[in-house]
């Protein structure tokens, strides 16, 4: 009765960091780092961690948006497409010579708009978010391809690469992470997200503005996809129309591995962070072990299955 978790107040948020669900993943991560450091020369180095941290960032930011969406028991398959749309269409601004302080906001706004469209369709049509975002994913990608005609945007002014240098991507990631951990733990909006995913009917009856909050969640997802795109451009130095392919899969993987239930109502942003870290470390380690990079999909897939099996067991036990 008087047992477990404390979840009230900022201090107890810290205590929440070590809640049952996230602890195992942290342990797995530590184990993986240890194993890889022993078996691979040069794994345990600042340089390597820097590289890994950059790789994790782009998917990681998208995953945070995905976490919120999945918490409300929704789905967003269009994240990769939004990313691509934002940077490519927004990137036309670069081609036209617009200054960066116009281009960046433009890209972000595009993400917001696309996210809004998702949210609108999902909340107005009684259709699974899965199907809607399957549709919008392809619409957005299609439009991107039509407008760009498949052409890369390169070269781009070096100022765009600032955001992708060194540890800066990770700083962004950390900032976004911190912000959303805060939101999901201490704001009414954040807590109500859990209610929507856990028992939507109840939440509705209790006066939670379900429809509005769902819209916001998809807008956030769109925004974060666009943001992630900015960093991607910074890292790679060019804009390609095929950007973001497969991001949805990896984002879902990170979310699910991080302990968030695909049924909604249960999980955490921190868990997703750990999930993306774990994914990143495993993939990096395997690459360094000269395992064929093509096995990545396999690993991701298996991890997803393991994670949802665990989730299923936990869910059924309730």
């Amino acid at each position: 009765m008087n047992g477990e978790t404390s979840r009230l107040g900022p201090l107890s948020s810290l205590r929440r960091l070590f809640q049952v669900r996230e602890a195992p993943i942290l342990i797995y991560i530590i184990i993986m780092i240890a194993v890889f450091s022993v078996t691979i020369n040069g794994f345990f180095s600042m340089k390597n961690f820097e590289i890994i941290s950059r790789q994790i960032t782009t998917i990681g930011i998208v995953s945070i948006g995905m976490t919120l969406v999945i918490l409300t028991s929704g789905f967003d398959l269009s994240v990769g497409a939004i990313l691509s749309f934002a940077i490519n269409i927004g990137g036309q601004g670069i081609v036209l010579g617009w200054p960066i302080w116009i281009v960046y906001p433009f890209m972000l706004i595009l993400g917001v708009i696309l996210g809004w469209i998702n949210g609108f369709l999902i909340t107005r049509l009684a259709v699974p978010a899965l199907i809607i975002t399957l549709g919008t994913m392809n619409i957005y990608r299609g439009i991107t391809m039509v407008i760009t005609k498949g052409v890369y945007i390169t070269p781009i002014p070096s100022v765009y690469q600032v955001i992708g240098n060194g540890y800066i991507p990770f700083v962004f990631f950390a900032a976004v992470l911190g912000f959303f951990i805060y939101v999901t733990l201490t704001t009414r909006f954040g807590r109500n997200i859990f209610a929507i995913g856990g028992a939507e009917q109840s939440a509705l009856y209790s006066g939670v503005p379900v429809r509005r909050y769902k819209m916001i969640v998809y807008i956030i997802s769109g925004f974060l996809s666009a943001l992630s795109g900015l960093i991607l451009v910074g890292k790679s130095g060019f804009v390609q129309p095929q950007a973001g392919l497969g991001y949805e899969l990896n984002a879902i993987a990170a979310v699910v591995i991080g302990g968030t239930s695909i049924f909604g109502g249960s999980g955490s942003v921190l868990g997703t962070f750990l999930g993306s870290v774990m994914l990143g470390i495993i993939l990096a380690g395997l690459t360094m072990l000269a395992v064929n990079p093509y096995w990545q999909g396999l690993i991701t897939g298996i991890l997803i299955v393991l994670a949802i099996t665990l989730d299923s067991i936990r869910y059924l036990r309730r």
Partner: protein, 327 residues
């Protein structure tokens, strides 16, 4: 738009869709004939029919899975897998007929894995097949090491030029599969049970249907058909490519849903799905003949998908039978 569901009879609702699709197809063909002189030629139509063979097969597989109340997004990946397995085995010297058999078995194996995860572990089909899609795709890349494989026996590749009653062999295989599956669904006991499971799994169970067993069968069958589709694809493009079927899920699912099969199960027809695929390919063909950007196809498909399902969804929401756990 049109009503998908007619309350007085499921048959008339289905029939309506089929007629509408038929009409749409004829309309498109008429427009294209008018706009382009090369459209209504034997060569062009042949090419269209051949090209839609493999996606048509995938649509057949997905139709059966959806009717049974399941969901399979790994269809494109399995299609790529069979080609990759075939090509790889051939390169290392395995006798070709054996290689074909193994390639088909690989598809069944994936279907089996899907079934185990969905039936025994009771995981949601969407995520499961998403995961297996990723796994299979990576196996494909690993097998082919990212390359395109063109070394294949001439006798096999020349099947492309075989004609049966003036129709391309590949298309005939599609039709044969379609007919077999359609007969299975509409005329056999097994087919009835598949519809029943999709209509209401609990009712089917209580009425004595071995739901679990049939689900296994359906997923394995789907895997087999997708693998077969992969073989057709290989013959058509005379190569094995790792990216085969990447766009398949969207195209196939859209076509199948337009064709009257529902996401929730219990309703659908092979004919409808094929007409949907045909319409899509006519559009694509039209685009290329008229020099339009083919990427418009994806956009239009996405819009159609949302609208068709949206309409169905509104009908559904009145019945308040939405189960979010399903997918």
């Amino acid at each position: 738009m049109r009503t998908i569901r007619s309350v007085s009879s499921p048959r008339s609702g289905q029939l309506k869709i089929i007629f509408i699709l038929l009409g749409v197809n004829i309309l498109i063909m008429a427009v294209l004939t008018y706009l382009s002189p090369t459209f209504m030629t034997y060569g062009n139509i042949s090419a269209v029919l051949t090209r839609m063979s493999e996606l048509g097969m995938l649509a057949i597989a997905e139709t059966v899975v959806l009717i049974s109340g399941g969901f399979d997004i790994s269809i494109g990946a399995v299609m790529a897998l069979s080609g990759a397995v075939l090509g790889t085995l051939h390169v290392v010297g395995v006798p070709f007929s054996l290689a074909i058999a193994i390639a088909l078995l690989a598809g069944v194996a994936v279907g089996f894995i899907n079934a185990v995860l969905v039936v025994n572990l009771k995981l949601t089909p969407f995520i499961v097949t998403l995961a297996t899609m990723s796994i299979v795709r990576s196996v494909v890349y690993a097998l082919l090491k990212g390359h395109v494989l063109t070394e294949l026996p001439e006798k096999f590749l020349n099947l492309y030029y075989v004609y049966v009653f003036k129709l391309p062999l590949l298309f005939v295989i599609l039709v044969a599969t379609a007919v077999i599956m359609a007969v299975l669904l509409k005329r056999t006991i097994l087919g009835r049970r598949i519809y029943a499971m999709g209509g209401n799994e609990r009712t089917a169970y209580i009425s004595g249907v071995f739901v679990k067993r049939i689900r296994y069968l359906v997923y394995c069958l789907s895997g087999f058909i997708c693998a077969l589709a992969g073989l057709l694809f290989t013959v058509r493009i005379r190569a094995v490519i790792p990216d085969a079927g990447l766009n398949a899920p969207l195209e196939v699912i859209t076509a199948v849903l337009i064709g009257g099969t529902t996401i929730y199960g219990g309703k659908g027809s092979i004919l409808g799905s094929l007409l949907g695929i045909f319409a899509m390919y006519l559009l694509l063909n039209g685009f290329s003949l008229l020099g339009l950007n083919p990427f418009w196809e994806v956009i239009i498909l996405g819009i159609i998908l949302i609208f068709v399902i949206g309409q169905e969804g509104i009908v559904r929401s009145f019945r308040a039978s939405l189960s979010r756990r399903r997918l």
